[in-house]
């Protein structure tokens, strides 16, 4: 087990991601930020909070999306995936969507997330923000638009973001 990023590094990265979004988006009116359940929402919660601190007068539309029912491996593992809650109270028709997840690996979760999104309406544009991009491990033509950190890993390794609920000790671990 190896620590790839420490709490201090991650805090700066999250701030940077929030600033990048604010830099690119003038008005958040037609933007919906969507965290991917279950692990992506730890990041999206914090990014949304950071954006709110940068642009306090703008109203941020924020939802959570579960992709379980859209996965392409429903019947490939030994057990079936138990879903988490989806909460999207906005019509996504014509909106600009920022999808947020913690680790981008094969790209299959994002594929499922895009399918799930379309069932809520036809967005104008979808972009992807991830905290950790595991380069060279993609199985689908999917690339992130906003990247916290890029790492090079072997397929057999696991990258795990450990979130501390008291915001004192987040870290990114590489597990063999």
């Amino acid at each position: 087990m190896k620590t790839l990023f420490t709490h201090e590094q991650l805090t700066i990265t999250i701030q940077r991601l929030a600033h990048q979004l604010v830099e690119q988006i003038e008005a958040f009116e037609d933007v919906v930020i969507i965290g991917i359940q279950p692990r992506g929402i730890h990041l999206s919660d914090r990014v949304v909070k950071a954006i709110q601190a940068i642009v306090p007068c703008q109203k941020i539309q924020y939802g959570q999306l579960d992709t379980t029912f859209y996965r392409d491996d429903v019947h490939q593992n030994n057990s079936i995936h138990i879903p988490s809650a989806t909460s999207i109270d906005y019509n996504l028709e014509g909106k600009q969507i920022i999808l947020i997840d913690d680790v981008l690996h094969t790209g299959r979760t994002i594929r499922a997330a895009m399918d799930a999104l379309i069932d809520f309406g036809r967005p104008k544009h979808v972009s992807l923000m991830v905290l950790i991009d595991r380069r060279f491990s993609r199985e689908l033509p999917i690339q992130p638009d906003f990247v916290g950190q890029s790492v090079d890993t072997m397929y057999s390794q696991k990258v795990k973001v450990q979130w501390d609920e008291h915001n004192q000790d987040h870290k990114v671990l590489l597990l063999d």
């Binding site: 029912f69 879903p83 069932d119």
Partner: protein, 309 residues
């Protein structure tokens, strides 16, 4: 994670955790059913056969809709008009359907234990949609799910099951399910329709419907099943309605609001008067709505096991 069982034959075989997994999955499906596109692509690779040897409206439509909402393919079979009338056996009938590459069977049968028997002879997962006077697990799950939606955790809640307990598979499944969730159960009805030794199941009983109503927070009223009564068990429907039927006046005489449930079909004016069935306290149509989400959860959770094993 998945259920501890391969088939859903009865609530008796389920662990409390299984019931809770089904509920939390059904919460998600209920949310899906409120979207503009009420459908997910999860089970595109699954085919389900709905095999009904007995009549049904709600259960059958509910299962069929649940399958469609999961993107599974479904085929329907009813005994009337099939080769069953030519003398084909249950196993032959089902094996013939399964050889057309069906992954899961939803079955209703008038003989208690028919799905259990079938489960020993076929590989596909079976969901019991009611077997004789034994169990009707998805009905009990949707009943408990509907109660949970209104009352929260069912631990310590007081639930009365009123009516024809003797012939009711809904009653038995409800008793198992509610007890596993920690609720207190009381059954009420005429002495001839309450099975002997029912207290062995850990439930209390009374012959006084008013007492039961005064005690409970939820009254699950069951249908008088005339089709299963081959000897007279009470003098007339009119007498039953007078002594054991529930009407709005009785509900109003209790100081607090209790929930009224009924698995359907209702014999209006017999076990439940129209003004009680259509009152604000009645959550009968919520039950039907929740039925689709519960059945989606059951099919989804069992589909994994069926294909792997």
């Amino acid at each position: 994670m998945s259920l501890s069982v391969k088939h859903l034959l009865g609530i008796k075989d389920l662990a409390k955790e299984d019931i809770q997994t089904i509920f939390s999955t059904a919460d998600n499906f209920k949310q899906v059913l409120q979207r503009p596109i009420k459908k997910v692509p999860s089970l595109r690779d699954t085919t389900v056969a709905n095999i009904f040897f007995e009549n049904s409206t709600r259960t059958r439509i509910s299962f069929e809709l649940a399958e469609k909402r999961l993107s599974a393919d479904s085929v329907n079979f009813s005994a009337a008009g099939s080769s069953v009338s030519k003398g084909e056996t249950l196993i032959d009938t089902v094996n013939n359907i399964l050889s057309m590459k069906v992954d899961m069977v939803v079955m209703r049968h008038s003989a208690s234990g028919a799905p259990h028997f079938l489960s020993q002879h076929i590989d596909a997962s079976i969901i019991n949609a009611g077997d004789g006077t034994n169990e009707h697990p998805t009905q009990a799950l949707l009943d408990a799910f509907s109660m949970r939606e209104k009352l929260g955790d069912l631990k310590g809640k007081k639930i009365a099951i009123i009516g024809d307990i003797l012939h009711s598979r809904v009653a038995l499944s409800n008793i198992y399910c509610l007890q596993k969730l920690g609720a207190e159960v009381l059954v009420a009805g005429p002495p001839t329709l309450i099975p002997k030794h029912i207290e062995a199941l850990g439930v209390a009983y009374t012959y006084d419907v008013k007492k039961a109503l005064a005690w409970c927070e939820v009254a699950n009223v069951l249908r008088i099943q005339l089709e299963r009564q081959n000897k007279p068990l009470f003098s007339s429907l009119r007498e039953y309605a007078l002594y054991y039927g529930i009407n709005k006046d009785m509900l109003d005489s209790i100081q607090r609001d209790i929930l009224i449930m009924h698995p359907g079909p209702i014999n209006r004016g017999v076990e439940l008067s129209s003004d009680a069935a259509d009152s604000k306290q009645s959550i009968i149509l919520n039950q039907v709505e929740n039925g689709v989400a519960i059945r989606m959860a059951a099919i989804y959770l069992l589909s994994g096991k069926a294909i792997i094993e």
